[in-house]
């Protein structure tokens, strides 16, 4: 018991002291997952627009498939990517295995289904009249589509944040294709893999410190999501006293 308490105290000291090892791991996590999400946004957003706005055969099938992929265990995707990246694999010649690039591409593939799924729902929930409305006001086809995307903005941002959430918290892909390399110029260890490694080697203080930081990051992202969802509500709340006054005056 005393050991655990001691480890927690050590963890807090490590966080407060701004330990460079910890800072490095945290910034690597943010960088890898951030880049992964940006990559996923680049191909996921057009894909979401396509699925949401165009009518085609097999649309339901694709949507169901994407929803299935959301639940795919990360270790399974990690395995698939490992087989592709490995020296003898399909893309082995690129020499990506155990590099930061492998981690970022892997994570971006991992989050694509979640990004596209939420994006599709956000775009589909936009009033279908918006396209015609923009066209009657002189918009070209692509401008009209941009108008729809703008209407879906809060849902799209939500999908990006949820993707980042998933990326930074996952272990399977980053472990299998990144290799959890903790030294040299091409370090690939991130929060989740570093926690796992430090537990194995008995560095509980460090593991706990990283765990706390991971929770803080996840909590912050979720707070942003909640704030976005509540933004409208807060505006309403701020206006409430004024509206009450107005109603009071009207009844008088």
């Amino acid at each position: 018991m005393a050991d655990i308490l001691g480890d927690i105290v050590e963890a807090l000291q490590l966080i407060v002291s701004g330990n460079p090892e910890i800072l490095g791991i945290v910034s690597r996590s943010l960088l890898f997952s951030g880049t992964a999400v940006i990559l996923a946004v680049l191909w996921g957003t057009p894909l979401a627009m396509l699925i949401a706005m165009k009518e085609f055969r097999g649309k339901t099938l694709i949507k169901t498939f994407l929803n299935t992929l959301i639940g795919l265990p990360t270790v399974v995707l990690g395995l698939i990517l490992f087989l592709i990246y490995a020296r003898s694999g399909f893309l082995g010649f690129l020499g990506l295995i155990y590099t930061p690039a492998a981690v970022m591409i892997g994570q971006s593939i991992l989050v694509t289904p979640i990004l596209v799924s939420i994006g599709v729902s956000a775009i589909e929930s936009v009033d279908p009249e918006i396209i015609s409305l923009s066209r009657t006001l002189g918009a070209s086809e692509s401008q009209a589509q941009m108008a729809v995307l703008k209407e879906a903005a809060s849902g799209i941002i939500l999908s990006d944040l949820a993707s980042f959430n998933r990326a930074i918290g996952e272990l399977g892909v980053v472990l299998l294709v990144g290799g959890n390399i903790a030294g040299g110029g091409n370090r690939t260890d991130v929060l989740t893999t570093a926690i796992s490694r430090n537990i194995q080697i008995g560095e509980f203080g460090l593991a706990i410190a990283l765990g706390i930081l991971l929770v803080i990051i996840l909590f912050t992202i979720n707070m942003i999501v909640a704030a976005l969802r509540k933004a409208d509500y807060l505006v309403e709340l701020a206006k409430a006293p004024y509206l009450r006054l107005k109603r009071y005056r009207e009844t008088k």
Binding site: E129, I130, S132, T136, L137
Partner: protein, 354 residues
Amino acid sequence: MMITVAELKNVTKAYSNKIALDAVNLQIREGEILALLGPNGSGKSTILKILAFVETPTSGEVLFQDEKVNFKNTEKERMESTLVFQKTTVFGTSVYNNIAYGLKMRKVPKDKRDREVKKALEIVKLEGFEKRNARKLSGGEQQRVAIARALVLKTKLLLLDEPTANLDPKNAGIIEEAIDTVNRENKTAIVMATHNMFQAKKLPNRIALMDEGKITEIGSPAEVFGKLSKNLARFAAVDNTFTGTAKSTTSGTSKVDVGNGVQIEVTAQKQGATAVFISPQDIILSKTAVKSSARNVFKGRITEIKDLGSLVKLKVEVGKPFMVQITKHSFNEMGLCLNAEVFITFKASSVQVL
């Protein structure tokens, strides 16, 4: 010499299960207000969508400013024709951004845009609303934003689909005034769909009667309403419009027997076949018979309730169905519900005899 802004030549629009427009020919003249009058599903909205170039005709051709329209690419034409939908749709952003949208598409510089938006807001009496969130406005105000967003573009052709349907008289009045202003000041040709007889008589230069995808009658309001006796039955589908036989009474008014035992008293001296219209706003609804000077009192039941935000539209069956419009406040206060027994009352002078 009349200048034609747009022309439909033998235009047919068929959807998979229904013909919406059946070989329609129509010319829209510069600076005129043309009302398309007819029941729901008669093809009014389809004509408007084709003239706004957001719907492609199945056959026939459309001329716009003397040029044949190629519906595969209508970007150029869409800059000169705009449509305000029946169902009010606003972008989920500020009133300014809503109204400036079309100007941005036309690459109008910011300072001019600001001035134009301000002017458009004045026309619809929403001065100072620039920064408000359009979605947070009342239904009537949103519809006024939609009108301002269209008229700010100063297009050759302005198309309005039931611009005042489901609005209270105050908002409807502001919109009618705005339509009149734009038509007068910019010489914009306006085509509006309506099933409000009253509006059709008041605003337009010409009326086109529509029924089952065809234009059955077209001309000045006086001409069209004058000829009505020939196809009165066509009007029966329009809200609160009834056809029947008129007989003058000894007191100088007339009674129109519209069937099912319903006799409507009107102030005009009239004999023979005629049609009458009563605006839903002019009907008083009560739970008991009201003693008043109004000549028309009928007892009936509520058969339909339609929530329009601050207003409620009710269908009251008194032998013939009457649409009645009351405020939500009265509706709640009176504790009305489906099948409730009510009385409707209206003055003989509120009845429009066509």
